[in-house]
Each structure stands twice: as structure tokens, then as C-alpha cells.
């Protein structure tokens, strides 16, 4: 197993350098790089699956000739749980990317290498067991992503997006620096096993972790880079970023919980609040977007919120009555997996639409389902999944979180904080779900249904096979994980147990997924039977009847044009009269603050005014200051 880890890492590295070898023939290098990456991801699946099943971590340690830190890898259940979506999503988006870039005339570009670095970096993030190594690969990952975002850098807006992404990721990482320095200073080592022994002062660390990892995960307020970077990036990449890269932040939080051996109840309250905020904020903002990829980016914020709700329920439950939290954690983990699948699929679908119509504004689109049926069907399916409708996988994970909170409710007979929190969780989950439905009906309806709203849809068509196949595979996974939710749910529970610190752990928790997961496939079957029989009934009754096509009833108005259709803006008219372009957090907080810092600090530029006599004066004054210091000291 250890060898497999090392092989995977070295193959990613190889893939990163592949274009250098084929510098003369870019087309070949593209394919070979992609294939290498795919193979590497494939190999990475083997240890992950075996670890998940056997639950025996794979470890590898190597003395490292750096002043601090060591090359310590460890693949435990938690890592494995994140590696599986990582591998699947990256394989598929590599394939998709091949199709996506088939006929762009760019010569040699860093795309392949940076994709390999991004994926490899995420892989390393998940398995690194040493603070320094972690930070190193974390930065590698972030910057590879930056170069991928800059892929279409001829478009002016992309440069801005790239810069915002850089700023966000760097500020986030600054918090991680503090976190690890503080932590290692308490544990006097950067090794995770050492850090796990730290007892006191975990609260501060937790806040730092939330800030640092939250900026990557896109907690509401720290999310401002998502709606910039995801649309700017090529769709094959934005799928990867939104599907799995932002999950690295979630991984970080999980890893922190795993390593910190005592939890406070307020941790749960805080992250639950974050979840509510992100979920509602994200979905409301998603609802009023007019750019399809921006909307999907905000929807990622919403799903991160749902995951946070799960974590919050988990922490609260655990800190109250040991075994209560499991369901919440399992739900969060399960949703990580599911969201990775359908969000990548959605971005691929959006990518094919953009590829075919060269616009991201949904109000220019419409009626695409006739022109690109495969995309439409898969997109519809992913939408259903992300809205948590049965029988898709989204429903399974949200059900998990619901059950977690309901379990807390039903185990307490009198008022206490957990009860209140789980009521809040249930209410906000429901609200989020409702609005998610609203916004995805909008996106799907306006884009694919009705009639074309403008010329761009004229020669739209389904993408090439290389782009279709990944979407279909993902769709298949979404249904599979929805119907057969029982098994992944059980695995999620098994993984969740490893999170709970030994101080909290009690024996005799049933690690079987709740029975309702058995019901899902049955009920879905029943649903299909019912639908089928209804169809049969309908056909039978219509057999000897006349079926005609006629104009629509438009209140008697009989020259409707396509541009009279309800636009996306008017669809979400009840929420916001006109779709807003700038992000509220950006407008309210970040731009003013950064402007202030910029203005106040760039006033020092007056110092450099060019008059050498005054420069000498500075020296004299500095001298006087120092002398006074030496007299008082």
C-alpha cells in the first residue's frame, strides 16, 4: 500500500513534467499528461478503498532535510473518504477537459501540468501528516488552481478574478500559518501525532482553523472568491474546484476535529451558525444570479453550508451525549461525496452549454433541451440531486442530517441547547432545500425549457463524446448512490466514528445505517411502478382519442414571441427585482476595508519625494531616536 501511495505521488509529479518532454508536439503532450493523471488517480483509489474497508491506516515517514517538519504521510479512513471523490472527479474532469480543449488552438500551455499539480496537491493535502508538509502542498494546490483559473487570460475580467482568488487564498493561508505555528508551539512539533496531544487552548486554534479553512471552503463572508474564480476558470476546472477543491477546507476542519481530543459545545454552535448563514445566504444569492456558472458557485456556498450544519449537529450531539453526533458527521461526510459528484456534473453541463452558445447569461438561452438532449437530461438529474429530491443521492445525505437532528430532539425530553440547535437546523435545512428547488427550477427551466431567447442558441448541439461520457457517468453515480445509499451511508458512519475523540467515545453504537436507507430503493421502485402504470393508463385512455397539437393559451393573445417568455430575472422577481452583479459581502465589507488599508498605507509614498537633503534629515532623526532609546534603555 505504501508503495502505491508513493507511486501515485510520483506519477502526479511525472504528469506535471510531462509537457516538458513533449514540448514540440502539444497535442500529444495534452493526451499523455491527461492519461498519466487519470492513471495516477486510478491507482490512488486502491489504497483508499482498502483502508475504508479494512480501516487500517497506511503510514509512511521519511526524515526530511528541512529545518522543521518531516515527510510524514498517513492515509486513514478520513483521508480515504476524501480520496474517493477526489479520484473519481479528477478522472472524469481530465476526460472532460480533453474534449473541452479539443479545438482550442492554444499551443503549449500549462493546463495539463497545473491540473496534475492541483490534483496531486489535493491528494497530498489529504494524506500529509505533518504541518509543514500540509502547508506546502496546500499552497501548491492553491497556486496550481490559480494558474488554471488564468487559462483564458485574454479576457480582461479573468485577470481580476485571478487576483481576487489569489488574495482570498493567501489571506486564508495566513491564518493557517498562525494556526500551525501556534499549535506546533504548544506541541513543540509539527507532526500531527504530536499535535493531537495538545490539551489546552484548543478554542483559539478552532477559530483560526475556521477562518483559514473556511476561506478555502467558502463559508459565507469568506466566499467572495468563488463567484469570481469559478466562472473565470474553464468549466472542466471549475467543476474540479467547486466539486472537490473547496472540500479541502472541509477536510481541514474534519482533520482538526480528528486531532483535537476535546470538543466544546460552542464549537458546534458556531459552525452550525456558519452553516445556516452560508446555506441561506448562498442559496438566496444563487437564486438571483443571471450567470449560470456564478449561480452554481453560490450554490456551492449553500452546500458547504449544509455540510457545516451536519458538522455542527455532530459536534453538538457528541459533546452532549456521545453517540448522538454520529449521524450528523456521517451526513456531512456523505454530502461531501455527493456534492462532489453532482456539482462537478452541473459544472460540466454548464460548460457544455457555454461551449455551445458562448454565453453564460441564462436570459440569452432557452429551449436548449431539444438541441442538446443529453446535457439537458443529465443537468435535470443533477438538479434533482442537488435539491435533495428522492431517489437521488442528495436526498440521502440531507436525510442523514435531518435524522441526526431529529435524533437529538427525540433523545431529549426537556429543553436544552442541543434541542434548540437541532430545531434551527431542521428549519434552515428545509428553507435551504425549498429555495434550492426554486433556484434550480429557474436555472434549468430558463436554460433548457421553453423557447430560445436569442440567436446564440441557433446552432447549439450536444458536446463531443469525451464531454458527454463523464456527465453520464456522474449521473449514473448520482442515481446509484441514491438508490443504494445504504452502503455508502454505513461506510460514512464507520468513518464518522473515527472522528469522535477517544475521550468521548463509548462502545455499543450501532454502526448500521438507519433502516430508512433500506426503504429508499423500495419506495423508489414503487414510485417507478406507479409512474409506469400511470403512463400505461394514460396511453390506454388516449388510444382511441384524438391527440392534436395546438397553439398555447396566452390569454387569447396569439402572436407570442420567444422574447416574451419569463426571463430568469423575472422568475426570481419576488426575491430581488433585478439580478445583482456585485457580491454583497464584497461591496459591504471587503472593498471598503481594502480601500482603507490601501489609502492609509500608500500615504507613506510621500516619504519618497526625491529631495536628497530631506533624506539626510531622515537619517539624522533616526539617529536621534536611536540615541534616545539607548539612553532610556
Amino acid at each position: 500500500m505504501t508503495q502505491l501511495l508513493l507511486i501515485t505521488i510520483s506519477m502526479y509529479t511525472l504528469a506535471a513534467f510531462m509537457p516538458v518532454f513533449f514540448i514540440r508536439l502539444p497535442k500529444i503532450s495534452r493526451q499523455i499528461t491527461a492519461i498519466t493523471t487519470i492513471v495516477a488517480s486510478g491507482i490512488s483509489l486502491i489504497p483508499a478503498i482498502s483502508v475504508i474497508i479494512t480501516n487500517i491506516p497506511v503510514e509512511f515517514c521519511l526524515a526530511w532535510n528541512l529545518p522543521i517538519g518531516s515527510f510524514h504521510l498517513k492515509l486513514d479512513a478520513l483521508s480515504a473518504w476524501f480520496i474517493i471523490p477526489l479520484a473519481i472527479v479528477s478522472i472524469l474532469s481530465c476526460i472532460y477537459g480533453l474534449g473541452y480543449r479539443k479545438n482550442d488552438k492554444k499551443g503549449l500551455d500549462g493546463y495539463g501540468s497545473f491540473l496534475a499539480i492541483l490534483i496531486g496537491g489535493m491528494f497530498m493535502v489529504v494524506i500529509s501528516w505533518d504541518g509543514i508538509l500540509f502547508l506546502l502542498v496546500w499552497e501548491l494546490m492553491s497556486f496550481a488552481a490559480f494558474f488554471l483559473v488564468m487559462y483564458d487570460h485574454q479576457i480582461p475580467s479573468v485577470k481580476k478574478a485571478g487576483w481576487i482568488y489569489l488574495a482570498a487564498t493567501h489571506l486564508g493561508t495566513a491564518f493557517l500559518f498562525i494556526l500551525f505555528v501556534l499549535w506546533s508551539q504548544k506541541a513543540d512539533s509539527f507532526d500531527f501525532s504530536q499535535m493531537a496531544t495538545v490539551k489546552e487552548g484548543l478554542g483559539t486554534l478552532y477559530i483560526l482553523a475556521l477562518l483559514g479553512f473556511g476561506s478555502k471552503a467558502g463559508f459565507f463572508g469568506l466566499h467572495v472568491w468563488l463567484p469570481e474564480a469559478h466562472p473565470a476558470a474553464p468549466s472542466s476546472v471549475s467543476g474540479l474546484m467547486s466539486g472537490i477543491m473547496i472540500k479541502m477546507g472541509i477536510y481541514g476542519i474534519f482533520r482538526f476535529l480528528y486531532l483535537s481530543n476535546h470538543w466544546e459545545i460552542w464549537w458546534g454552535v458556531v459552525i452550525l451558525a456558519i452553516g445556516v448563514l452560508s446555506g441561506l445566504g448562498g442559496v438566496i444569492l444563487a437564486l438571483i444570479q443571471k450567470d449560470i456558472k456564478r449561480m452554481l458557485a453560490y450554490c456551492s456556498v449553500e452546500n458547504i453550508g449544509i455540510i457545516c450544519l451536519g458538522i455542527g449537529i455532530g459536534i453538538i450531539g457528541t459533546s452532549y451525549n456521545k453517540s448522538l453526533g454520529l449521524l450528523g458527521f456521517a451526513g456531512a461526510l456523505f454530502h461531501v461525496l455527493n456534492h462532489a459528484l453532482f456539482k462537478t456534473g452541473l459544472f460540466m453541463g454548464a460548460g457544455s452549454v457555454v461551449h455551445a452558445t458562448h454565453t453564460r447569461l441564462i436570459d440569452k438561452l432557452g429551449g436548449l433541451q431539444r438541441k442538446m438532449p443529453v446535457t439537458a437530461i443529465t443537468f435535470l438529474l443533477f438538479s434533482g440531486a442537488i435539491c435533495g429530491l428522492p431517489p437521488f443521492n442528495g436526498f440521502a445525505s440531507e436525510l442523514f442530517i435531518y435524522l441526526g437532528s431529529l435524533k437529538i430532539l427525540t433523545s431529549q425530553s426537556n429543553f436544552c441547547l442541543p434541542v434548540l440547535m437541532s430545531f434551527i437546523a431542521v428549519a434552515s435545512l428545509a428553507l435551504i432545500g425549498g429555495f434550492a428547488l426554486f433556484s434550480f427550477i429557474k436555472i434549468f427551466g430558463v436554460t433548457f425549457l421553453g423557447q430560445p431567447r436569442s440567436e446564440v442558441c441557433k446552432n447549439a448541439h450536444d458536446p463531443v463524446a469525451l464531454m458527454k461520457i463523464p456527465m453520464l457517468i456522474l449521473a449514473f453515480f448520482c442515481i446509484l448512490l441514491g438508490l443504494g445509499a445504504y452502503f455508502p451511508a454505513t461506510l460514512a458512519l464507520k468513518t464518522a466514528v473515527t472522528l469522535i475523540p477517544s475521550t468521548h467515545f463509548i462502545y455499543g453504537i450501532s454502526l448500521e445505517a438507519p433502516t430508512i436507507f433500506w426503504i429508499i430503493p423500495l419506495v423508489s421502485l414503487a414510485l417507478f411502478i406507479l409512474i409506469g402504470s400511470t403512463i400505461l393508463l394514460r396511453n390506454y385512455l388516449q388510444k382511441k382519442r384524438t391527440i392534436t397539437k395546438g397553439p398555447l393559451w396566452q390569454c387569447g393573445y396569439n402572436q407570442p414571441t420567444n422574447r416574451m417568455q419569463y426571463s430568469g430575472a423575472s422568475f426570481s422577481g419576488e426575491i430581488a427585482q433585478k439580478p445583482l452583479t456585485a457580491d454583497p459581502c464584497m461591496k459591504v465589507f471587503f472593498i471598503p476595508v481594502f480601500g482603507f488599508i490601501d489609502r492609509s498605507l500608500s500615504s507613506v509614498r510621500k516619504i519618497q519625494h526625491g529631495q536628497s537633503s530631506f533624506y539626510i534629515l531622515y537619517i539624522i532623526f533616526a539617529l536621534l531616536a536611536v540615541i534616545t532609546w539607548s539612553c532610556i534603555c
Partner: protein, 305 residues
């Protein structure tokens, strides 16, 4: 897990569901001092529609046809989870209430998409409203149900609505039920597009919500839609009336009888409301829904303190 005895109320529901709208209309007519339509009018409509051919709007796609079917199937399936009159539902398992809610969501999803598929701005307008209001009703329902879960310390829809012994005092229980009953009643009105949220008998498309979505459906499809909506009314009605049935339990058959009476009462209550209220302005409707949310929140506070 499966309770075959409860197939009986289920079948009754299938039969009596269309009757509710008849009762409603009768009540309204009585209040208006008219004779009003026959109480079995709905059955006649359905029958007529079943025998009609259909007209499909130009360039509508398979989704347009799929909408009514999936909706009907989903609502029908939801019926299997529904405890009627304090009896255990056909399927009862921990957490099935979420299944219940999300099945309805699935049905709604397809109805709205079908409306969107026509490309007629009116239907799309209706779709938008429907999506918005249902998004606001869902939390009310779930909050209320989880509150019941807290009360009954159980996680399945049937057990939530099951009769609980050791109620401290009937008065207390009733008083605690007032809020949630109100909340659920409003939800029922909204979900089934009754006055004051929506007026099924209006003739101005601009003000419709549910009706406008199905403007272009005809024949058997329309029949499906109509039947599904009456089933839906039954569902919500029984959720609402069920709150009261938690307070007592005599025996299976008695319960069923009482339950049917209760449904009739609910229907006539709707009729009364419809004849005493005018339809609200569209901008006012969110306030009504928020009111219901506040009611359920109040109820939560009431029970946990």
C-alpha cells in the same frame, strides 16, 4: 414496518378525496345563499376529462407530459406514509416524514417544470410563484413535525400522530396545539391554492398561481392533475386534523369514522374561510406564510419551555 390494515383508510382516501372540493363548494354556496354545484361535481369532471382527447401546445416536450404523471405518482406514494386518524400508516419507519415531504417536493418539481416547458410566460409566472410559496411552506411543515417528534420522542410520521398517553391535561394539550393547528391550516390553504392565497375559480390568469400552471394541460393529463391536487388536499387535511386525533384513541373503526367526519369538517372549514375571506394581493401572500412560520416557531417555543 408495513401495516396492511391501514390499506383500508388508504383506499377510502382514494375514493373520498375528490369529495372534499365538493364539500367546500357546497359550504361556500350555502353561505352565499345559493344551491351551488352538485357535491359530486368533481367526480363528474374527472370522468369527463378521462374520456376527452388532449391538445398539446406546439413545441412542448416530454416534460410537459411527464409533469402530471410524476406528480400524481409522487402524491399517491406519499399517501402510503400518511397516518390517518391516529392509525399507523401503511409504511412507517424512523424518518419517513422527510420522505413524505420530499416526495411532495418531487411532484411539485415536475409540475413546475412542465409549466415551464410550454414557454408561455403565464405558466412560467405561475411556476415562479408556486416555487416561491412552496419554498416558504416547507420549513413550517418540517418544523411542526419535528416539534411533534420532540413531544412524542419518536421519528416516524405514524408515531408522531399516534395517540400519546400521559398527556398532562387535555386543556394543556389543546392549548399547545392551537398554534401548530393554525400553522398547518395556513400551509394547507397555500399548498392547495385555496383562498386567500389563490383562487381556483378566478378567471384572470395574471392573478392565478396553481391554476395558471396547468392552463395548457387538457384531457387525461388535466384529470391526473385534478385528482392529484385533491389527493394533496386530503394529505394536508389529514395532517392538520390528525393533530387533534393525537388526543384520544377509541378503536380502529371508530377512529376511521371519526377521521372521515374530521376531513369533512376540515373541508367545510376551508369553505367557511373561503366565503369569509377575499383573495389576498400577491405581495401580501408572503406575509401570510411568514405568519404560519411564526406560529410554528411559537409552538416550538411553547413546547420546549
Amino acid at each position: 414496518m408495513l401495516n396492511f390494515l391501514s390499506l383500508i383508510p388508504l383506499i377510502l382516501a382514494l375514493f373520498f378525496a375528490p369529495l372534499l372540493s365538493g364539500i367546500i363548494n357546497k359550504t361556500k354556496a350555502w353561505f352565499a345563499g345559493k344551491t351551488g354545484p352538485n357535491i359530486f361535481q368533481k367526480y363528474k369532471d374527472l370522468y369527463k376529462l378521462m374520456l376527452k382527447g388532449s391538445v398539446y401546445g406546439e413545441n412542448t416536450s416530454w416534460l410537459f407530459k411527464a409533469g402530471p404523471i410524476v406528480n400524481l405518482a409522487a402524491v399517491f406514494l406519499a399517501l402510503f406514509f400518511l397516518p390517518q386518524g391516529g392509525n399507523v400508516a401503511f409504511i412507517s419507519v424512523n424518518g419517513d416524514l422527510f420522505f413524505f415531504i420530499y416526495l411532495l417536493g418531487l411532484g411539485r418539481f415536475f409540475t413546475i417544470l412542465a409549466a415551464f416547458d410550454t414557454g408561455s410566460s403565464f405558466e412560467q409566472m405561475g411556476a415562479s410563484r408556486e416555487a416561491f410559496y412552496s419554498a416558504m411552506t416547507e420549513p413550517v411543515l418540517l418544523l411542526g413535525l419535528s416539534g411533534l417528534g420532540f413531544l412524542s420522542q419518536s421519528m416516524s410520521l405514524s408515531t408522531l400522530y399516534m395517540h400519546v398517553e400521559n398527556i398532562p391535561s387535555l386543556a394543556n394539550a389543546i392549548s399547545s396545539l392551537v398554534f401548530i393547528f393554525g400553522a398547518f391550516f395556513i400551509v394547507m390553504l397555500a399548498e392547495n391554492s385555496r383562498i386567500p392565497v389563490d383562487d381556483p375559480t378566478t378567471h384572470l390568469e395574471l392573478t392565478m398561481i396553481h391554476e395558471v400552471m396547468i392552463l395548457d394541460h387538457s384531457g387525461i393529463d388535466l384529470a391526473f392533475i385534478e385528482y392529484a391536487s385533491s389527493l394533496k388536499l386530503w394529505l394536508f387535511g389529514s395532517l392538520t386534523i390528525g393533530l387533534i386525533f393525537r388526543l384520544f384513541f377509541f378503536s380502529f373503526w371508530v377512529q376511521i369514522l371519526l377521521f372521515l367526519v374530521g376531513m369533512a369538517l376540515i373541508a367545510s372549514m376551508i369553505g367557511i374561510v373561503e366565503s369569509f375571506f377575499a383573495r389576498f394581493k400577491l405581495v401580501k401572500i408572503p406575509y401570510l406564510l411568514i405568519t404560519s412560520f411564526v406560529l410554528s416557531a411559537l409552538w416550538i417555543i411553547w413546547i420546549i419551555l
